[in-house]
């Protein structure tokens, strides 16, 4: 027989390429003790667990979420959000540490845990025992018309090992739910109205503020307000027109004045009348001429010259006639003329030049006359009195024209000032316009907002009333918690079944595991695979008497060991966990109960 090279396998099962069920079964069979031992142990364990676990009872209540009495179209509730969210929120509040610890104290729950653990942990444990579930129904969404799920009710339950206590505590919890719900709804409605009232107050203040600012602005910028712009512009244009008018008049008047002045110059102020074909000078003119002559002569010949004295006598006489006196003005003019001439002469000639001396003497005389005339009361300046009627008329006209011009000039100044002022107002208007516009806009928008909020506030107040009178959506207890008769946990049969399956699995698993780890030759097949041909023969194990004896000894030994372990375990249980007779009676009771229920 030919043998192939070594085909490495590992042990029993894994060496075989295609593992059939038969191979697995063979392994299990060949290691049957290894299968049975863990299986049996686990079965016992699951049996104990199934029947020793303490029962837990559940007391459950159902609460319906009732529709509001007043339809939402009439009064919209201020409570929004889906029922499930609210139920969640209420659950959170009901399950507060405060509430639960109060209940724990009152009904003396979890005495053993409370002795060992801090209260917060016991409260956590209690929270796990409180359960709430939503009940929904298929409804039609009124807005979209599509089918939807809506929560119409919910259940609340409490689990505990004593049924009576479970019921009482469940009752407490249900009450907490109902009262919390009420409280929450009312407080929420109240909060909404409060909030809205706050808003209205704020807006009112804002509006008042803006009103004040607008009036302030109007005051400070009076005249520059946008609505006054047109008026201002009109004023300016009117003033400008007036100005133009005045300018025209000024032009005219100026022309007239020039004309009149020119005419006056041409005309003699004294009316000349003819005597004997000769023009006779008026006495005033005569006096003037004599005086001038006197001055010249006195300068030429000195004051004491007989001609000079004669002339002086004539002058005085004429003065007496006319009643005129020295014309200060004439003297002054004379003084000025002489001073100018003197200065000129001094430049040309030296001090001792006869012209210079003459002029000096004249000037001194004039100055002395001036001094004199100062002391005298002012005589009527008849010397300057013109008597030419035409001249006088022209003079009068000129006066009129001049005074008109003056008046007009003043008017012009006034108007110009006015224009400047209005211009300033107009210039300021854009800025004012901007500010004013802003304020007005703010004001209007504040007013609009105020209106809206006021409406909402009124609605909220209605909603508040709705809650206060419990006409809104509310919770209704339709099934109060009852005292449970049957425990919900533990499901003993289920535990037994699972235990059974698990133990078989564990047994088989152990066997397969051990087999997998076993790297010895397990079958002729394996040897055949390795060597390339089947073994020539397979010789079974031959048991001799010695072998039999050895096996018996081994069995005895194992049994003894197992018994010893079991006894030790029982002693431990008896000592530390529960006395064995108590354990037995519990087990007995539970098994009976289970089978009674099975029979039902």
């Amino acid at each position: 027989m030919a043998y192939d090279g070594v085909n490495a396998g590992e042990g029993g099962l894994s060496a075989v390429a295609s593992k059939s069920i038969g191979d697995y079964l063979a392994v299990v069979w060949s290691r049957r003790t290894l299968v049975l031992v863990p299986a049996i142990l686990l079965m016992i364990l699951s049996f104990l667990v199934a029947f020793l676990l303490p029962p837990v009872y559940r007391s459950q209540a159902t609460i319906l979420i009732e529709e509001p009495d007043v339809p939402p179209e009439l009064v919209l509730s201020t409570i929004t959000g889906f029922a499930d969210e609210r139920i969640q929120a209420i659950t959170q509040r009901v399950n507060s540490t405060q509430n639960l610890s109060a209940i724990i104290e009152r009904y003396n729950l979890y005495p053993k845990s409370r002795a060992k653990l801090p209260l917060t942990e016991v409260v956590d444990k209690m929270r796990d025992d409180i359960k709430s579930d939503l009940i929904s129904a298929d409804v039609k969404d009124p807005r979209s018309g599509r089918a939807a799920q809506a929560t119409i009710a919910f259940t609340v339950s409490f689990d505990y090992r004593d049924p009576a206590t479970a019921q009482r505590v469940a009752n407490e919890i249900v009450n907490l739910y109902l009262s919390e719900n009420l409280r929450e709804r009312q407080s929420k409605a109240n909060e909404t109205t409060n909030f809205l009232s706050g808003e209205t107050a704020r807006l009112q203040k804002l509006i008042n503020d803006l009103e004040k600012r607008i009036s302030d602005l109007k005051q400070t910028s009076a005249g520059s307000l946008p609505e006054q712009m047109d008026y201002n512009l009109q004023r300016i244009s009117r003033a400008e027109t007036e100005l133009r008018d005045l300018d025209r008049r000024v032009d005219g008047l100026e022309q007239q004045r020039i004309y009149l002045e020119a005419e006056l110059l041409k005309m003699s102020p004294f009316g000349s009348y003819v005597v004997d074909g000769q023009r006779v000078m008026s006495p005033g003119d005569q006096l003037k001429a004599l005086k001038t002559q006197l001055i010249t002569l006195s300068g030429q010949y000195g004051a004491n010259h007989p001609d000079v004295v004669k002339l002086r006598r004539q002058v005085t006489a004429l003065e007496g006639e006319t009643g005129g006196s020295d014309d200060a003005q004439t003297l002054r003019r004379e003084q000025e003329r002489l001073s100018a001439e003197l200065a000129q002469a001094k430049e040309r000639y030296s001090e001792s030049h006869p012209d210079v001396i003459k002029l000096q003497r004249n000037l001194d005389a004039v100055q002395a006359s001036l001094k004199q005339s100062r002391g005298k009361p002012q005589a009527v300046p008849t010397a300057a009195q013109p008597d030419n009627p035409a001249y006088i008329q022209l003079q009068a006209q000129l006066q009129v024209a001049k005074s008109d011009l003056k008046a007009i000039a003043e008017q012009r100044i006034a108007i110009k000032k006015q224009i400047a002022e209005v211009d300033k107002l107009v210039a300021a208007t854009p800025l004012v316009e901007r500010e004013y516009g802003q304020l007005m806009r703010d004001y209007e928008s504040a007013q609009r907002e105020f209106e809206t909020i006021r409406q909402k506030q009124m609605m909220a107040q209605l909603g508040e009333t709705l809650e206060a009178e419990r006409k809104g959506e509310r919770f209704l207890l339709i099934e109060p918690p009852s005292q449970p008769t049957k425990p919900i946990k533990p499901k003993r049969l289920a535990i037994l079944a699972i235990g059974f399956v698990l133990s078989i699995g564990a047994g088989i698993g152990t066997a397969l595991l051990v087999d997998g780890l076993d790297k010895s030759i397990g079958s002729a097949k394996q040897l055949a695979l390795m060597t390339g041909a089947a073994p020539l023969v397979v010789v079974p194990y031959i048991r001799t008497a010695m072998d039999v004896m050895r096996e018996w000894i081994a069995r005895l030994g194992v049994t003894a060991a197992v018994l010893a372990t079991v006894v030790a375990l029982l002693m431990v249980v008896d000592e530390f966990i529960m006395p064995l007779d108590v354990l037995y009676s519990i087990l007995e009771r539970q098994v009976e109960a289970t089978f009674i229920r099975l029979g039902e």
Binding site: A15, K519, S520, S523, P535, V537, V538, P540, I542, T544
Partner: protein
């Protein structure tokens, strides 16, 4: 058992009568020349046979057929290849090499065409003699070391056509002895002495000492014994590697827990 009883009586009678032992029917290898004129016949101890599981000696044991099957396959192979020396070995101790070797030898001896010489080559722990309940003074070890005449070592354990060469007292220097020139010449001689004699060598474990390895070249074919649930796969692999240069007739799976068919056929 009856046949054997009869043979034993006959042999005893002949011995007592002092006639030279004839060849064939009564136990083993007696030849005119070469020094094996007669072989001692010692009846085996039934208790020992039972203890060491030499079942072939009993008639009608349920596994007799199993060994017959082995015997036939072996004979067919050996005849086809004209081999006459067979080594029985295994990877580890206590796998049943001796058990298989002895049972096979006895089974072969029951075939009337040949004689069988069973040589115990496990010089460290010789076990063949124990199977028959023999307590020989001298064996192969003494032959090799002290040049005890071979004829004195051979034993017929009361089974026709079977001669046993026990190992002798346990020795530590087995490896050296087995590779000595004396052993080599013995092996050659044993083979060539009788053309129709089958020689079965019970070798020590392959992986424990090198004795087997050393001797394997002098055996024409070999048989590998493995025990179910005990022999590791890696040991088999290693053994197969070591046996590559020898003609491996096949394997035997020992100590199997599987059902063997037709036990009561």
């Amino acid at each position: 058992m009856e046949n054997i009883q009869k043979a034993l009586e006959k042999a005893r009678a002949r011995r007592e009568s002092g006639a030279p032992a004839s060849s064939a029917p009564v136990g083993g290898a007696a030849s005119p020349s070469g020094g094996y004129t007669r072989t001692r016949v010692i009846r085996p101890d039934p208790a020992a046979l039972k203890e060491h599981r030499i079942i072939v000696a009993e008639n009608g044991h349920r596994l007799t057929d199993t060994f017959r099957i082995l015997r036939t396959q072996v004979m067919q192979e050996m005849t086809a290849g004209r081999h006459r020396t067979l080594a029985v070995t295994g990877p580890n101790p206590n796998e049943g090499k001796t058990f298989i070797a002895v049972n096979l030898a006895v089974s072969l001896a029951m075939l009337t065409e040949s004689t069988v010489l069973l040589v115990d080559l496990d010089l460290r722990r010789p076990a063949v003699h124990k199977c028959f309940g023999l307590k020989p003074d001298v064996g192969l070890g003494e032959y090799l070391l002290h040049s005890v005449p071979l004829a004195d070592c051979l034993i017929n354990p009361g089974i026709d056509r079977l001669v046993v060469l026990p190992g002798g007292a346990p020795l530590r220097t087995s490896s050296e002895l087995l590779s000595s020139p004396k052993m080599l010449s013995l092996a050659r001689e044993l083979k060539e002495r009788y053309p129709d004699r089958v020689i079965v060598y019970d070798l020590p474990p392959l992986l424990v000492t090198d004795d087997a390895l050393v001797f394997l070249s002098h055996a024409e074919c070999c048989l590998l014994v493995a025990s179910e649930g005990k022999t590791q796969v890696s040991d088999i692999q290693r053994s197969l590697e070591l046996l590559q240069s020898t003609k491996l007739l096949g394997t035997v799976l020992n100590k199997s827990k599987c059902r063997v068919r037709g036990l009561n056929y």
